[in-house]
Subunit: 351 residues, 2 copies
């Protein structure tokens, strides 16, 4: 029998946060691609467009006029999936027909007054302002809601309907599915091993090194052992931190700096404004915020779809939807590629 090599031999890997498996078939990268090619990006976003509802001074769908903001800007989503006051569907009459009340708030946060920048093209102090705004909104909405989901959909490929740099915040009266699974896994790990799952995981990755992308005084970025998306990464503080508002000023500065480096590498990978969805997970908030959540470690997930080039993505379809996620290069190969990329943005280097 041949000796096992992860880059040649298909295998499954376990995701201990979601309690599920991923099929790794790195030899699949050899197949030719004849499928859908994504439209190339229009690089001609105007810096200011008075008709874009995210721009300073623009009028939004509800008639409100945006202030002439010059940093970050937070406002209520005009088409919220969650509203504070929906009535309850009432008791279910059958175990296979269960519905429950869902309440919440949806906000939008602009990162910058200009439409033609993205986080990696912003300065470290500008990104630091975004980090501070994330911490504040977590604190503000977390006073009332058990879960505050901060997420960024970047790029048309990720369903983002507006090129202006922004993220969304959806706070809910319930713990969403993905979070419930992370809660269960982290709690069980702490019970069994006496330490937070992601603290031990960080330690191990710092020793093993092969999946590290970036390290700094307070943070690390790695391609998780169980990554599903080709260039998926996990961003973690080195210290045990449960939620964004707990971060100290030096940790926030350092976060801004490592985010700029990571997102620059992403853009440099295929010399394009790299699409992704990203989001933060920390300990639950709301009325139970004071309970013991020591098994939680703050982290951000980055899920970028591109696989081979700026226009060829990984499709999570058929087998993935009906059976199990499958990836076409190993997490170690992805980390190696990302590590090797320059920390200067290709658009600035060319100037």
């Amino acid at each position: 029998a041949a000796t096992f090599r992860a880059s040649d031999h298909q295998h499954v890997r376990y995701n201990p946060l979601q309690d599920e498996w991923v099929l790794v078939s790195a030899h699949r990268m050899k197949r030719p691609w004849q499928g859908q090619v994504e439209p190339q990006l229009l690089e001609t976003v105007p810096r200011h467009d008075p008709l874009n509802p995210l721009c300073p001074g623009a009028t939004r769908a509800n008639g409100e006029v945006n202030p002439h903001y010059d940093g970050t800007f937070l406002f209520d989503n005009d088409f919220p999936a969650l509203q504070p006051d929906a009535p309850s569907p009432g008791p279910s009459d059958h175990p296979l027909f269960q519905a429950e009340a869902a309440r919440g708030v949806c906000k939008v946060m602009c990162f910058h007054p200009w439409s033609d920048v993205t986080l990696p093209l912003m300065s470290v102090p500008e990104i630091r302002a975004v980090v501070d705004a994330w911490a504040s909104v977590t604190e503000e909405l977390g006073a009332q809601y058990p879960w505050v989901q901060i997420f960024e959909n970047k790029g048309a490929m990720m369903g983002c309907s507006n090129p202006h740099p922004h993220c969304q915040i959806w706070a809910s009266s319930f713990l969403p599915n993905v979070v419930q699974r992370e809660e269960r896994s982290q709690r069980a790990y702490q019970c069994q091993h006496g330490e937070p799952l992601l603290m031990e995981y960080s330690c191990q990755e710092l020793l093993r090194k092969e999946r590290l992308v970036l390290t700094s005084e307070h943070w690390l970025v790695l391609v998780p052992f169980w990554a599903v998306w080709p260039y998926q990464t996990l961003l973690l503080p080195r210290r045990h931190v449960r939620r964004l508002p707990e971060l100290t000023p030096p940790e926030r500065d350092d976060l801004a700096s490592i985010m700029k480096k990571l997102l620059t590498k992403y853009d440099n990978l295929f010399e394009t404004s790299f699409p992704y969805s990203m989001g933060w997970h920390g300990a639950p908030t709301g009325s139970e915020a004071g309970a013991n959540w020591d098994h939680w470690q703050l982290h951000a997930h980055y899920y970028p779809p591109l696989l081979r080039s700026a226009t060829v993505r990984k499709f999570m379809v058929g087998y993935e939807m009906l059976a199990q996620a499958q990836r076409d290069l190993t997490p170690e190969q992805a980390a190696e590629k990302l590590r090797a990329l320059p920390e200067v943005h290709y658009r600035l280097a060319q100037k």
Copy 2:
């Protein structure tokens, strides 16, 4: 407080097969769409292209020449994610770094010798031949493997790299994640209630009617109470059937006929060749096939991405990837729309 109306008031619904929840926010359909619009379909697929590796008589990547087949045609995938003989990664040295062996076979099945047809444009006897081929391949690969996943990715939007009508079959040495959850849920339901989950669910849907799309002597199609994709459906036999090969000849004919009707409705919805991923789930096979799997009921899931038109899809991104699936119309609204559509294909009606 207002009276609850599912079409006006957001709520969460429970998916008893996957043991997770979906956020239903039907009022979101009111928001304008400014995001990515999918490329319109090229309707000019040639009936026969000697360079298309799926066509009769064409040469494939491995040098083999396809026979001049005139019905369905099954062959080995030239770029398989699963191969029969991969070595094992060996024992894991840490609970957070678990890898295991994965073995299997990947096949491709052409539905028809012509590249310019799709299932709804094929005749009922031609579709019946596909049903028979599905049953045979399940039997053949199920003799060795515990799971045989039949799935079809249709349309470029679903990562399908070849317009020729075909599906794939991936058989594996393991039960994939989605299947493990269905196994757990169906087993638990049978233990607690003494009957198969999906048998009771079908009964209830036949009584409640509001989510039914099509019914026939042996089959039903409905939009599940917990549907995630806008026009997602579930196709089920009325009789308790565990696996495809158990279907009788009249059940197979009737399946071909109801599939033609469903897929015709799908194409008619936005007057386009409707993209989707679909796949079959039945009781596990392999060496444990003889065990008691009575809690399983055979079914097919259809997951189509389109939301508003032939070019505007639902994106499962940001909140969906980080937190929980969210849908923009109720399953009852979707079922009503599908029910109202004609059973004659728009391309044939125009002739």
